[in-house]
């Protein structure tokens, strides 16, 4: 067979030898070592799932030949000091099980990218990490020089809750060392801050900095076993914190009653002993009605109130501040005063001659009449008769009474709040009311009682080195909450923000008032996003950085339960992904502050936990590295953990302040019900938009994470969002199940299919949040629930530095109509 000597192109023989670019050798293949490839046996790792939910489950991860093949629940150890504190079952849910699909998703961002088209056009080119980090460093420096150091906003959020990578993580260290602003943890992005603000009002000095509110001091969930009645209030833990439902069921086996208060008949409501569909946004009125009954029927705990609360303290009728001894007696002390029932005089509360302080009553002094704080409360609550409360809340009067009887008549009584209460403009007031009611009945600091938002979050007990981790050499970041940052981007107030770096944060989709957020992000000079999939936020970036999933980096999880879960690197990072810690280190190096990122993850963990330090806090004393990395050990705390068990409160008075002086300017010194800012039938806007729009959290995702995983999508209507609507409301609009509907208000609109269900109160509609709206993946037909929501801030919260604002997602009115197509 004769053939011409062939070449593809003359002069291009054998890899362009002629060009001096000779056979460059192999780039992606190398010689196998002599012994050949030996298949590895199965290895099992224990790690914690640091995702954005209360579960904080421990995972046993099976790895064969470098690939993860299975994930299941892992076991738990004793307390650090060896005491067997409690039984804690292995726990996992459908989302944890699906993490294999997440880590090996074909949608993983593999490399750094740089935007090449207009922002949001989705045009990117691949670049190296070196190029990416140089670009970030240069642009940050340029912008900081021109607009001020705080004009760069570092924005981590709750996508991960572990120490180094998560919402309390290295982001703050980085922001501190470059002097940038940073979004604070548990800020207002998700509307979670209303509850903590209220804890600050009543149980702490609200003006004290670095104060975590009720987020870090909830009852350990196993304490629910000690409750005689459990109120799951605006909480759907059967979907959002599934393994803790087991504890609720165990409690029920002991006779505990379970009450669910929710405008929707959720799986939690379906499993409860009583379901109360409250009109959304009116829970404070219901609580006020319950309190009124408790006060009128003298079902309060007098001894508790006298000893641990401001109840007996007299209030100045003119200033409305607490009456002080110096107001009565020239040269008197700055001390609270009470009325002694025995000798019928007003005296200092710490007067040794005090026999019995009056709880209720109004007493004369200098021609004026001063009421006790308890009397002020009682007077304010007095209008909330069952009928009055019923009119506001749509809860029947006899049910208002019944709930009060259940709460006051069963001791201890536990209240577990969900963020269903917090996503309201007046969410702070609702929590204030709950705390007040818990105080009335002696349920704060009591086993089986309490008002719990979250349990054990972030373990401020254990992370004694956290301050140094965040603020090396005393450097501090400038706090800027996500909602305020939006205004800073758009209006330059309080100062301009011209650049941002998001990580574990899907701000462009999950933040309220999406149209405003998109405008803000598009106005930035420079936007960096770290993520592991091309989220709606990453799509807008100038630089996209590939992030690791939890299996690919070392970290420590200590949140939502009282166990420390070391997270080893289970597999090598896929593609060119890097941990956020590594990414910060690379940029810091180029910005001249690389010395702050020299340590390894294990070293930072040791520092924060003060391992080996005899002065480590008692909760972690004695913890060795070997112990930490060998299993999940519980803090040396009594089990179950009950906050405020010592009844010591960091308030000005040292007591529970259900009368809050600092809220006087906002007319909120006691928890008198106030209307929602928007979603009230008394709002004239209601004529145009008569439906309350909820966007709740579904079991098939964790907010916007895992929304595209096949195992979860295929059992969730193939990932397609829908609007839950009561048949009454649907029929009035000619809507049947499956029809495409348009949901709209003055801020924006969206389209999905309707699903008629009796599981929702008429006048209320719901579209699950967390679905994606990116150029390639749309889980809603058009638009997104956050097109409808707003960013109206509650000024009362401004008195709490850590929680000055709140995104009231549910305080929202819409209209729904059938759409074509």
């Amino acid at each position: 067979m004769k053939r011409e000597r062939r070449q593809f192109l003359k002069g291009l023989v054998g890899g362009s030898v002629a060009l001096g670019l000779g056979f460059s050798g192999l780039r992606f293949l190398e010689a196998l070592p002599a012994e050949g490839a030996v298949p590895a046996a199965e290895k099992i790792f224990r790690t914690g799932h640091n995702t954005n939910c209360d579960g904080a489950c421990g995972h046993q991860v099976h790895v064969v030949d470098g690939r993860v093949t299975f994930i299941e629940g892992a076991g738990w150890e004793t307390n650090i000091d060896g005491r067997a504190a409690q039984t804690f079952n292995p726990r996992i849910c459908l989302r944890g099980l699906s993490q294999i699909q997440n880590t090996y998703s074909p949608d993983r961002i593999k490399y750094p990218y740089r935007r090449v088209g207009p922002r949001g056009s989705g045009q990117f080119e691949r670049i190296t990490w070196d190029q990416a980090t140089s670009a970030i460093a240069e642009n940050f420096q340029k912008i900081q020089t021109q607009f001020g150091r705080e004009s760069v906003w570092i924005a981590p959020y709750t996508g991960a809750l572990s120490l180094l990578e998560g919402v309390i993580g290295a982001s703050f260290r980085f922001a501190s060392v470059i002097g940038a602003s940073a979004g604070d943890f548990e800020g207002d992005n998700e509307g979670d801050s209303a509850g903590p603000a209220a804890f600050n009002y009543m149980l702490y000095d609200p003006t004290a900095p670095a104060n975590s509110g009720g987020l870090l001091d909830g009852h350990e969930y196993t304490d629910l076993l000690n409750a005689k009645v459990i109120f799951l209030w605006g909480n759907n833990l059967a979907e959002t914190s599934i393994p803790d439902w087991r504890t609720v069921c165990d409690a029920r086996n002991n006779g505990t009653k379970v009450i669910s208060l929710d405008p929707r008949y959720t799986p939690t409501a379906a499993g409860a002993d009583l379901w109360v569909p409250v009109r959304p946004g009116t829970d404070t009125a219901l609580i006020d009605g319950m309190m009124n009954w408790i006060i009128q029927n003298k079902r309060y705990d007098e001894a508790y109130l006298l000893k641990y609360s401001v109840a007996p303290f007299l209030v100045h009728p003119k200033t409305k501040l607490f009456l002080k001894h110096k107001d009565l007696v020239p040269g008197g002390a700055n001390k609270y005063v009470v009325f002694d029932e025995r000798d019928r005089t007003i005296k200092r509360y710490d007067d040794p001659t005090l026999t019995r302080a009056s709880l209720l009553g109004t007493h004369s002094f200098g021609g004026l009449q001063a009421s006790t704080a308890m009397q002020v409360l009682a007077d304010t609550m007095s209008k909330f008769t069952p009928e009055y409360a019923a009119k506001i809340t749509d809860v029947a009067p006899e049910t208002v009474v019944h709930l009060a009887q259940l709460y006051a008549g069963n001791h201890p009584a536990a209240i577990k709040c969900g963020f269903g209460l917090s996503h309201w403009h007046r969410g702070d007031l609702t929590h204030q009311a709950l705390l007040t009611m818990a105080t009335l009945t002696g349920n704060i600091g009591v086993q089986g009682g309490g008002v719990t938002i979250m349990s054990g979050a972030l373990l401020s007990n254990a992370f004694s080195g956290l301050g140094n981790f965040w603020n090396p050499d005393g450097k501090k970041w400038v706090p800027l909450q996500p909602m305020a940052a939006c205004d800073a981007m758009l209006f330059g107030k309080p100062y301009p923000v011209r650049a941002a770096w998001f990580m574990i944060d899907n701000y462009a989709q999950q933040m309220a008032d999406r149209n405003k957020v998109l405008k803000a992000l598009k106005s930035l000079d420079f936007l960096v996003v770290s993520d592991y999939v091309l989220s709606a936020t990453a799509e807008l970036a100038d630089i996209v950085l590939p992030a690791c999933t939890y299996l690919e980096k070392t970290d420590l999880l200590g949140s939502f339960n009282y166990y420390l879960q070391y997270m080893p690197k289970v597999i090598e990072p896929m593609w060119e992904s890097k941990s956020d810690l590594d990414a910060f280190g690379l940029v810091a190096q180029k910005m001249g502050v690389g010395q702050y990122f020299q340590k390894k993850p294990d070293d930072y963990i040791k520092d924060v936990l003060a391992i080996g330090d005899p002065k480590a806090p008692e909760s972690v004393r004695g913890l060795t590295w070997e112990q930490l990395t060998s299993g999940a050990y519980r803090l040396n705390l009594p089990a179950p953990y009950v906050p405020y068990a010592d009844k010591k409160f960091a308030t000005k008075s040292g007591r529970i302040e259900f009368y809050v002086e600092s809220l006087l300017p906002y007319d909120q010194e006691v928890c008198d019900y106030k209307e929602p800012i928007e979603a009230s039938p008394n709002n004239p806007l209601y004529q145009k938009y008569p439906l309350v729009f909820l966007s709740t959290h579904t079991r098939f995702r964790t907010h916007s994470q895992y929304a595209n995983l096949p195992w979860l999508k295929e059992i969730n209507n193939n990932g397609e969002g829908f609007l839950e609507i009561n048949p009454t409301d649907a029929r009035a609009r000619g809507i049947a199940s499956g029809h495409v509907v348009r949901i709209f208000n003055d801020r924006g609109w969206m389209k999905v299919r309707a699903r008629l269900t009796e599981a929702i109160k008429p006048g209320v509609v719901n579209c699950y949040q967390g679905g994606w709206v990116t150029r390639q993946v749309k889980h809603y037909i058009e638009g997104h629930p956050n097109n409808l929501t707003h960013q109206i801030a509650n000024p009362a919260q401004s008195i709490v530095p850590n929680f000055p604002s709140n995104a009231a997602y549910y305080d929202c009115l819409v209209q729904v109509e059938k759409a074509e197509g």
Partner: protein, 244 residues
């Protein structure tokens, strides 16, 4: 003295080596601007204004021929951007360059096919440099494997070691039959169907046609050398046209 058949085989092997090298560079995008410029220059020098009529090489050569030789940086950049869009990301890929995605419609990587490819590499003394971080069955790596074996076969031929030439070419044929032929046609089809860029379309057409021809070439070479190999053809012939 080289026999006629040996020389013919040498020509085929040299050609195949140059093509696999070129293709692996293109699909791995190891194509800096200078190299691209030389490619264009060489193509234009060769064709000298004529059109190439070969059905496999033609589209690509004609495309290169039509480019302005002095101002290629913008074009080069556009080709790179399209490369990223087609094969890299960050969005959903129109032509995911992984065998495992095409072998089962789940469109996911790191599958069992990946491990099969890994075993085949190992059988011939290779492994990927980024184990478990880049799939073994990425198109560029599979082509690099073919390129490495091509070079090895050419070296063996030049050393007169016919047995080893047969060994390497047989390995290539096995790899083509078990792997490349099972997905490359569809992959190239996806490029052609999803790209409007003439460079990538012509590369895909070339690749597709070249692989078809190469199946026959490998059989031809083995047949040639089988006649000159003392022990006869050590490998039974696999089915012809395995790449179709």
């Amino acid at each position: 003295m080289q026999s006629e058949s040996t020389r013919a085989a040498g020509d085929i092997l040299a050609y195949r080596y140059s093509v696999y090298d070129l293709l692996r560079r293109i699909f791995l995008w190891e194509v800096p601007l200078e190299f691209f410029a030389e490619l264009v220059k060489a193509s234009q020098a060769e064709l000298a204004g004529e059109t190439c009529s070969s059905s496999a090489e033609g589209p690509l050569k004609n495309y290169l021929n039509g480019l302005p030789p002095d101002d290629l940086s913008e074009i080069h950049r556009e080709i790179h951007i399209e490369y990223t869009r087609l094969f890299i990301g960050p969005k959903h890929l129109p032509a995911p360059p992984y065998e495992s995605v095409y072998r089962s419609p789940g469109r996911l990587m790191m599958q069992d096919e990946t491990i099969n490819v890994r075993s085949l590499y190992a059988k011939h003394g290779f492994r990927v440099t980024r184990m478990n971080r880049e799939p073994d069955d990425t198109v560029g790596i599979e082509l690099e494997f073919m390129c490495a074996l091509s070079k090895a076969s050419l070296d063996a031929l030049q050393e007169g070691d016919t047995r080893r030439v047969v060994e390497f070419v047989s390995a290539q044929r096995e790899f083509c039959e078990l792997h490349l032929s099972k997905w490359m046609p569809e992959f190239c089809g996806d490029i052609i169907g999803n790209s409007t860029h003439p460079f990538w379309k012509s590369v895909a057409e070339f690749t597709q046609r070249f692989l078809e021809e190469d199946a026959a070439e490998m059989n031809a070479v083995l047949e040639q050398l089988g006649r000159s190999c003392k022990d006869g053809d050590p490998n039974p012939k696999l089915s012809v046209g395995c790449c179709s």
